[in-house]
């Protein structure tokens, strides 16, 4: 009987949204090359001799060539992009990665580095026949220094596994995101993933202490120090953080893990309008100060659609906006006092219309699960355009009503949610069907508007395959020029993740 209870409880709190959504649509996406009209670059084609060579390094089991086996590695998480790769390699060591790259570089064979394949901009799957190098078997934890909190591990470790591991030592991973059950630390580093607690623990340029990466020619670059301070020359690790597999393959990571908070509390509130969200954020920053660990918002449709499509419970009733406020601290009593002052004040002021607050881990999980499932909810049925932009907080939400008006009944849903503390909003636009007409209504409009507001067209998901042609809305020509120079220096043959990040020059 207990088993049944546990099962249901598990079902409610850790509903496997990924699987449900991934298999919701069995229809294969169109080839990216056709859909987006991309010309194949002048790389070699994979020959039988190449496969034999890879087998000589990895053995037969870690070289996939069977079409059905290779297929999932060709399709991205949102099933928007589909590559045509015929080979997937699964190295287990840095040495193997190095040998593979040295060979591919010499033979002019293009490769696509892949982690958990949860990236949202098509960067993690090939466009043509690039060889997929998936890091999933490089999943060993190397060391954990409990005094400094430095964790050293291989790039293929799944984020959630790392978090579970360090929690056993009273630490947590400095980042947390909805894809944690599948994404890998190497993928997180390569995309400079932000996530739910960036507000508190900062981004990966701060928490990654060191890393090891392999350059296109197979050279292993060892920057794997686990020191907080290391001002010896250029800070090369930053080149690999956020470069989305275009400058090298990350093979090991040293990362700083903060202390596991002794007390954690989560509130979920109904809010009247967006202005009040901003007011509440200001108030939370001053009342909760150093214990504030996350401040997220979602509009009504984001929550109601998630509740409906994924059949999740909504802890409170219908409100125009929702705010999710989390605290992490070291003393339950102190934190409770701060929180209850904050709540009393803002209930009275009316900024919080209604809500719930809990420090029961299971209930917190259920609420977080609702927030984290928003990304997946709109994948049920139809086609969804997803945007991830940063906008100065004052104008954070402006773009949602603008898009609603522009698209009218051509969109079945337009909603916004995100990490308001970081000025980062996710905008989902659901349409019954992908059509060129809808695309032309959204792009480049949305990027132009973001650019006018001095925002970033990609706050945390990166540029990948889907956004290089828009990168100029956020990067000046001088900066783009230096990016090209670096690419030329580090990967002169352009074999690492071609068609991604850097726009074509023509």
């Amino acid at each position: 009987m207990l088993k049944r209870c546990k099962f249901i409880v598990h079902y409610v709190s850790k509903f496997n949204v990924f699987e449900q959504v991934r298999y919701a649509s069995q229809i294969l996406p169109q080839f990216s090359a056709e859909k987006y009209n991309v010309k194949r670059k002048n790389f070699s084609n994979v020959q039988a001799a190449d496969v034999s060579y890879f087998q000589s390094i990895l053995g037969n089991d870690r070289v996939l060539t069977d079409r059905d086996e290779v297929l999932p590695f060709n399709i991205d998480w949102i099933r928007n992009c589909r590559g045509q790769s015929q080979v997937v390699l699964k190295p287990k060591t840095t040495q193997e990665v190095s040998e593979i790259l040295a060979y591919c570089n010499k033979k002019r064979l293009a490769v696509c580095p892949q982690g958990g394949n949860t990236g949202l901009v098509g960067g993690s799957v090939p466009v043509y026949d690039e060889i997929v190098i998936n890091l999933m078997l490089m999943d060993k934890i190397i060391t954990l220094d409990e005094i400094s909190g430095a964790l050293v591990c291989e790039a293929g470790c799944v984020l959630e596994n790392l978090d579970n591991y360090v929690r056993g030592h009273n630490l947590i991973m400095p980042l947390d995101l909805g894809a944690k059950g599948s994404c890998q630390i190497g993928g997180n580093v390569s995309t400079n993933a932000g996530g739910l607690r960036l507000l508190r623990y900062g981004n990966l340029h701060g928490s990654v202490l060191g890393l090891e990466a392999v350059k296109a020619d197979g050279t292993v670059i060892d920057c794997l120090r686990s020191l907080k301070k290391d001002n010896t020359g250029y800070h090369l690790k930053h080149l690999f953080i956020g470069s989305e597999g275009t400058l090298g393959i990350v093979t090991k990571v040293a990362i700083h893990c903060p202390v596991l908070p002794k007390a954690a509390t989560l509130g979920f509130f109904g809010i009247k309008n967006f202005e009040n969200i901003l007011e509440l954020y200001k108030s939370a920053k001053s009342s909760l100060g150093e214990i504030l660990s996350a401040f997220e918002m979602a509009d009504n449709l984001a929550i109601t659609q998630t509740v409906k499509n994924l059949n999740l419970p909504n802890p409170i009733s219908d409100y125009p906006f929702y705010a999710l406020v989390e605290t992490h601290g070291s003393n339950e009593v102190h934190d409770g006092e701060k929180l209850s002052n904050f709540l009393n004040k803002e209930m009275e002021s009316g900024l919080i219309m209604d809500g719930t607050v809990t420090s029961d881990p299971a209930k917190m999980q259920t609420i977080w699960n609702l927030r984290e499932s928003i990304a997946a909810s709109s994948l049920v049925g139809g086609y969804v355009f997803k945007y991830d932009v940063s906008i100065p907080q004052k104008h954070y939400y402006d773009i949602v009503p603008m898009l609603k008006q522009r698209l009218g009944d051509k969109a079945s849903a337009v909603f916004g949610y995100g990490h308001i503390g970081d000025g980062n909003i996710h905008i989902n636009i659901s349409v019954p069907q992908y059509t060129k007409e809808v695309v032309s209504l959204i792009e480049p409009f949305i990027f132009e508007e973001v650019s006018k507001l001095k925002g970033s067209i990609s706050a945390e998901h990166g540029i990948g395959f889907r956004k290089p042609q828009f990168i100029h809305y956020s990067k000046e020509p001088s900066a783009l020029g230096l990016m090209r120079d670096l690419k030329q220096l580090m990967d002169p043959n352009g074999i690492l993740n071609p068609y991604k990040v850097l726009p074509e020059t023509n």
Partner: protein
Amino acid sequence: MSRVLVGVKRVIDYAVKIRVKPDKSGVVTDGVKHSMNPFDEIAVEEAVRMKEKKLASEVIAVTCGPTQAQETLRTALAMGADRAIHVEVAGAEYETLQPLHVAKILAKLSQDEKADIVIVGKQAIDDDSNQTAQMTAALLDWPQAVFASKVEKTDSGLTVTREIDGGLEVIKTKLPAVLSADLRLNEPRYATLPNIMKAKKKPLKKVAAKDLGVDLSPRIKVVSVEDPPVRQGGSILPDVDTLVAKLKEGGHV
């Protein structure tokens, strides 16, 4: 209208990973997050709904445990219970507190408070005893309707749908009666902020077990608490023939 007494227990939160003490005398509870037993939440929810439907006049939440158990009572109050009784049991006595003791306490309080209905969760997720409701009913000599998945008021009493092996059983019972809540009885609400605030001001009475005349000396001795056996890792087989061969080898087919 009836008065409802609800038993709530403070247990290790079900999202927390359980660790067995090295000396195998129990599980680690120090510094571990606790919350209300999920089945008891369902029991509270049902009682509160009875009150909202005007079938009950008052909902009283009861817990037996150390001071921290008052948090669990506050949760019940925030969900809508009217008042709470904390039966103080701490230290060594709490460690050996068993369903019979709790049943005696609940039986005594039901009489003192003139309750017509006692609802508890069908089991607590820590010791999995599934005995409290039944023992309470026996001690009071009241009818019992356990594993309830639906409770309706009928003229002379209650019509209760019970989850039994392989199906559902519908029974009628007169009041007073003892009920235990099964998983599908309802989906417990989240306490809303105004109610959480109000709960802080609702009455919470403390009593000592011995003032209720209940003897807490243990009847059962825990010999050893052990981790479940570690699941063996799976392996991927190349084809169906190998699978069949393996199954035969293991004597499964």
